[in-house]
């Protein structure tokens, strides 16, 4: 082996070592959660990198709780509604911001971006008053409202950028064909914006699905909770026991839908995130 081949070989090894390190760093915590979920509570604190046996008792336990199943249903209702509302408002707003010339358009866009920079805690008390005033306390509708506030800026921003890249002549062709703005949006732009919609919709879904602070603050009873709160409030046999096994099992259960969604939409996400980077 010549020294050139050797150095090439060493470089390749170094590259794959680096990849392995990154994957380990990213995946290990989740992996550990998964194997923990399959351990019976007696073995919980024995460190094992490969589970010696699969024990499904943790899963049996969480699925036997009516409140957990109710929380999953609530989460689905909230997340799907947030995605639907955010995309509907986002598309129409991005048409106005991307296509209609009006005074103060860039100011509006900057305000929208600015809003998304506030930490949740900063608006928590104010939003609580709003929710109370609207009589939405302890109601999934209150969560939908508050998540939409935080999802919309991102959705509008991304969709506006995408909308601006669609050729002007396409819209004018639709106008010449007699299309109203609504018909132009739904019949001409929407079919072309699926990648962007899939990206923003999925990110909105993940945000709504995983949100904890608002969900904890704006709900009171088990029947109205969403999954992250329900997991955090899982209680063990006594006040002194944290039920790690069921918590891990529940976490795995609620993460799986996200992973499946990402896999389904991954190609579209990539094309959505890189759209406009290269002309094509």
């Amino acid at each position: 082996m010549t020294s050139r081949q050797l150095s090439k070989f060493a470089k390749r090894i170094g590259f794959w070592l680096l990849v392995a390190l990154v994957v380990f760093y990213a995946v290990f915590p989740f992996y550990y959660a998964v194997i923990t979920s399959f351990k019976p509570s007696s073995e919980l604190f024995r460190v094992e990198l490969w589970p010696s046996r699969f024990d499904l008792s943790n899963y049996a336990q969480i699925f036997s709780q009516r409140s957990f199943l109710q929380a999953i249903v609530n989460s689905i209702i909230v997340a799907v509604s947030v995605v639907g509302i955010a995309l509907l408002l986002g598309i129409t707003a991005s048409y106005a911001l991307g296509r209609v010339r009006f005074r103060g358009r860039s100011t509006v866009l900057l305000v929208i971006l600015g809003v998304s920079m506030f930490p949740q805690v900063a608006v928590l008390s104010g939003l609580f008053e709003v929710i109370r005033a609207l009589n939405l306390y302890n109601n999934p509708a209150g969560l939908i409202l508050s998540y939409t506030i935080f999802t919309l800026p991102f959705t509008v921003w991304v969709l506006t950028t995408f909308m601006r890249q669609l050729p002007m002549e396409l819209e004018e062709a639709a106008i010449m064909d007699g299309a109203t703005p609504w018909v132009t949006i739904t019949k001409v732009f929407l079919p072309l914006m699926w990648p962007a919609m899939a990206t923003t919709g999925l990110l909105a879904f993940i945000a709504a699905w995983n949100e904890f602070l608002f969900a904890l603050t704006f709900t009171l009873t088990d029947s109205q909770r969403t999954v992250p709160v329900a997991i955090a409030l899982l209680s063990g046999g006594s006040a002194y026991e944290l039920p790690w096994g069921p918590i891990m099992a529940a976490s795995v259960v609620v993460t799986v839908p996200l992973v499946i969604l990402v896999i389904i939409f991954q190609r579209r996400i990539v094309s959505g995130l890189t759209a406009g980077a290269v002309k094509g």
Binding site: P167, E169, A174, I175, M176, D177, G178, V183, V188
Partner: protein, 368 residues
């Protein structure tokens, strides 16, 4: 089919005045071409007629009615865009049917019209394809089909051939011309290419900086340009311009003198100008005759271009540096370095005054 009348049309964008007092009559069934350099307002004028831009001032009539306030769909106009702007997610059939469906046309009628249009444009084989599976020329035809399917009274073309390569452009130009003969509908066509304008138009409208420079048939514009701008814009290679001075002039003709050419007796009416007035002399490359010569007034041949069927000879005057071009049929005996004198044919010399307006002829002359 309809006529179009523009009456003192103006368009102002913010502080820029793009279209200035344009008056124009377009007859029923005419093929009119708007031509001019980029930024002259020709596309804006077309978009004003289409209804994609609002008219700042003036009146636009299509047929007998004023359409200033009507949206595009109610004006009965169809438009072909430069980038085609086909709907990428629809098939060729759906692209052409889109406007008809939006107009709530009966399904059967939609089908008949789309099929009829496809037959005219030879698109029948392609109806199920998406635009991305079409060649440039096919996309071009679909774009025309989409504009035609709704049977508009006027068809508008915005530089439709500029995205095609040279040979396809000639072919599509030919197809558009034959389409016009066949449909006999009113067409308005925008281009910056004077060859397209000359070959397609019944009537050319030359625009410059938002104003109409001249309206006329291709023949009129070539033979009798009304301004120096039109003279320089129409024709390739462009007309030669030489500074000249009026020696004497009357209503019956005039005598001018120009460095390098000497004194010429010309048939233009120069009665409005005094002796010594500065004029510009214009001669097309094919109307310049060369003779071997020497002396102070001679021109030197600096380059000879052989194009197969014709030869361009580039001439440099002793004084000044504007190159002149002479065109003749191939073969040519002229060689680089030769000294020549110019003898323009007085019948084909144009004179422009200090405001760049052409001087009219003293008496009617035989058609050139």
């Amino acid at each position: 089919m309809a006529s179009v009348t523009l009456d003192k049309i103006n368009k102002v964008f913010g502080s820029t005045h793009i279209i200035k007092d344009v008056d124009l009559e377009i007859g029923n069934g005419e093929f009119v071409v708007f031509v001019g350099p980029s930024g002259c307002g020709k596309s804006t004028l077309l978009r004003l007629i289409a209804g994609l831009e609002s008219i700042s001032d003036g009146e636009l009539c299509i047929g007998d009615s004023v359409v200033n306030e009507l949206p595009p769909r109610e004006r009965g106009v169809g438009m072909v865009f430069q980038s085609y702007a086909l709907y990428p997610h629809m098939t060729v059939y759906e692209n052409m049917a889109f406007g008809l469906k939006l107009a709530k046309t009966a399904k059967q009628t939609v089908h008949e019209r789309v099929m009829a249009t496809a037959r005219i444009l030879q698109l029948e084989e392609l109806l199920e394809r998406k635009p991305k599976a079409l060649s440039g020329g096919q996309r071009q035809r679909v774009a025309m089909g989409r504009a035609m399917a709704r049977e508009p009274r006027i068809l508008l073309f915005d530089e439709p051939l500029s995205n095609l390569d040279a040979s396809l452009r000639v072919q599509m130009r030919n197809e558009i011309a034959r389409l016009h003969q066949r449909l006999a509908s009113t067409m308005i066509y925008v281009t910056h290419d004077q060859v397209e304008a000359m070959t397609l138009a019944d009537k050319i409208v030359v625009l410059n900086a938002g104003r109409i420079e001249q309206v006329g048939s291709p023949h009129e514009l070539y033979q009798r340009p009304a301004t120096k701008f039109v003279a320089g814009f129409i024709g390739s290679p462009t007309m030669n311009f030489l500074p000249a001075e009026l020696v004497s002039g009357s209503a019956d003709g005039c005598r001018v003198t120009s460095a390098g050419i000497g004194e010429l007796a010309l048939p233009q009416d120069a009665s409005g100008h005094g002796g010594g007035a500065a004029l510009t002399l214009g001669v097309r490359p094919e109307h310049l005759r060369l003779a071997e010569a020497s002396g102070d007034n001679a021109f030197e041949i600096v380059n000879v271009e052989y194009l197969g069927n014709e030869v361009y000879v580039y001439l440099e005057p002793k004084a000044g540096d504007t190159l002149l071009i002479h065109r003749s049929e191939a073969p040519s005996a002229w060689r680089v370095g030769q000294q020549v004198a110019l003898a323009p044919d007085p019948e084909h010399v144009h004179l422009f005054d200090a405001d760049d307006r052409a001087l009219g002829l003293a008496q009617p002359r035989a058609a050139a």
